[in-house]
Symmetry: C2
Subunit: 297 residues, 2 copies
């Protein structure tokens, strides 16, 4: 279901609080789904993981309130390290940065709210995953986000099947809004999550969209909610299916080496990471994406 | 000893083959010194490590010869992972890149030769180390390089003593050429190996110099040799002194976390790494600097 049938004149400004509320609700639902998986994984031994919440405040440039967020991190028996973070921040971009942001050249004030998730799994048979969606408001407003999957053995039949299921959910979410979305956003994802220095894709993709302003802000918000719902329908199911498979020490070692590529991508190319680090974001929240254990043998 | 007393009219062009020969000789001497340490470390169990050499060729832009190099990598019982690489490459910079390089704006041809070393040690009591020196020739010519040390516990008395010994050797090398070198190159090192997103130094520094052209190319070459000799006098001695100390599991864990900062620096800020990756250098040689095992817990 989506809101396309009932176009409304709501502006991005009017959507700020509903969007923020959605991101926070989605955070809670995802954390609950992941904790339920931890409870299920009795085969794994040890205690089921639980999310630990860390709220943080962002000082505004002038010492005023600049918003903040809440990191939730779980180190579990299935989820080796997963961060599900929401933040809602506002202030003024630096002049340098404002020049690169739509609608911020003349008036540098911004407001941004979003959810961001990265999960690194103990099992080399369960793909890592990334999802984030956000609303940005300058003198313009737009939604952005995406979700993508990173298996340790992208060529394997199992990984291909998981990716097909993941893509199918995202495609259905896209198609219910605009038939051009999935092909465009899938290509964008493939181009974005690419390591030119290795000539390698980071994983098996998904969708990626930025600066989405179709002219109907409500529809764009509904699409962003649909992406969150698609993620929630797709990923936990993959985890539940794959987590019971046993794996070898060599497979785990391979996973740790593949994670090195993930680090290389995030630190060399990821715009969100570089933006956050270079503009004084919350370091712990930004670097939550880095895997718990990595090898460059 | 240095060549300052016998200034000569040799140009950087005339120094290309002597510099290349020096870097290759130094590579051999360093590898021999490190293998001797491996032989000494009978307390560690397992076989002493040995360097494995991998020569590589760099294709020139037009398919012609573009030079190449030799990586030497050892995975030992004291040296967990150490790369000692030499390369001598030539060709033409891209237009974008040439604009940033002294003497390359009008004529984009370049020649570069150097040695580059990074050692990550098994023991959290033995500091990691980095050293590199090089000669670059465009329509200008200059030497560049440096050496710096990264202990797991920079605040500890032991690490402070090691750093003092390391700095003393580098300072002596500097002072025999120019009393301004050490203070300038030490500061440059401190500014360079700094992680602004964490407000942290990478380690306990050393020296860093770039675009050194004093007007006497022979003296600059002699200084670059003196930096290599200082490294060879300083670092193996530190390793021999510290490698016998036992350490705890918690110290090793701390080392793995500190190595994450090393990765963050190299992938986010290191100009050599970014330059190499973005201009089609040898990926394996460039990323040899990344630690074998890392944690972001």
């Amino acid at each position: 279901m989506n809101d396309r049938q009932t176009p409304s004149p709501r502006t991005h400004l009017a959507l700020q609080q509903p969007a923020r509320a959605w991101f926070e609700t989605l955070q809670g639902r995802i954390c609950a789904a992941f904790e339920a998986i931890e409870d299920m994984a009795t085969f794994a031994g040890g205690e089921p993981g639980r999310f630990v919440a860390s709220p943080w405040r962002r000082p505004h440039e002038a010492g005023e309130d600049g918003g903040g967020g809440e990191m939730r991190v779980m180190r579990g028996r299935v989820f080796e390290k997963v961060g599900v973070n929401v933040s809602t921040v506002w202030g003024e971009f630096s002049a340098d940065f404002a020049a690169q942001i739509p609608g911020a050249a003349a008036d540098r004030r911004f407001w941004a709210s979003g959810i961001s998730l990265v999960a690194h799994m103990r099992s080399p048979r369960v793909p890592a995953v990334h999802m984030n969606t956000r609303l940005i408001v300058t003198t313009e407003g737009w939604f952005a986000g995406g979700a993508d999957i990173t298996p340790a053995y992208p060529e394997s039949e199992a990984a291909q099947a998981d990716a097909a299921a993941f893509h199918a959910r995202l495609r259905a979410a896209c198609d219910s809004f605009d038939p051009s979305y999935y092909p465009r956003f899938k290509d964008w994802c493939d181009r974005y999550f690419y390591l030119p220095h290795r000539g390698e894709a980071r994983g098996l993709g998904g969708i990626f969209y930025d600066h989405l302003r179709s002219g109907d802000a409500d529809a764009d918000f509904a699409f962003t909610r649909a992406v969150g719902e698609a993620f929630l329908a797709a990923y936990p199911e993959i985890v539940r299916q794959r987590m019971h498979e046993s794996w070898t020490k060599a497979e785990r070692e391979h996973l740790l080496v593949r994670r090195g590529r993930y680090v290389e991508f995030n630190l060399l190319y990821d715009r969100g990471t570089l933006f956050g680090l270079k503009t004084g974001g919350n370091i712990e929240a930004i670097l939550m994406s880095l895997p718990p254990e990595v090898r460059w043998p």
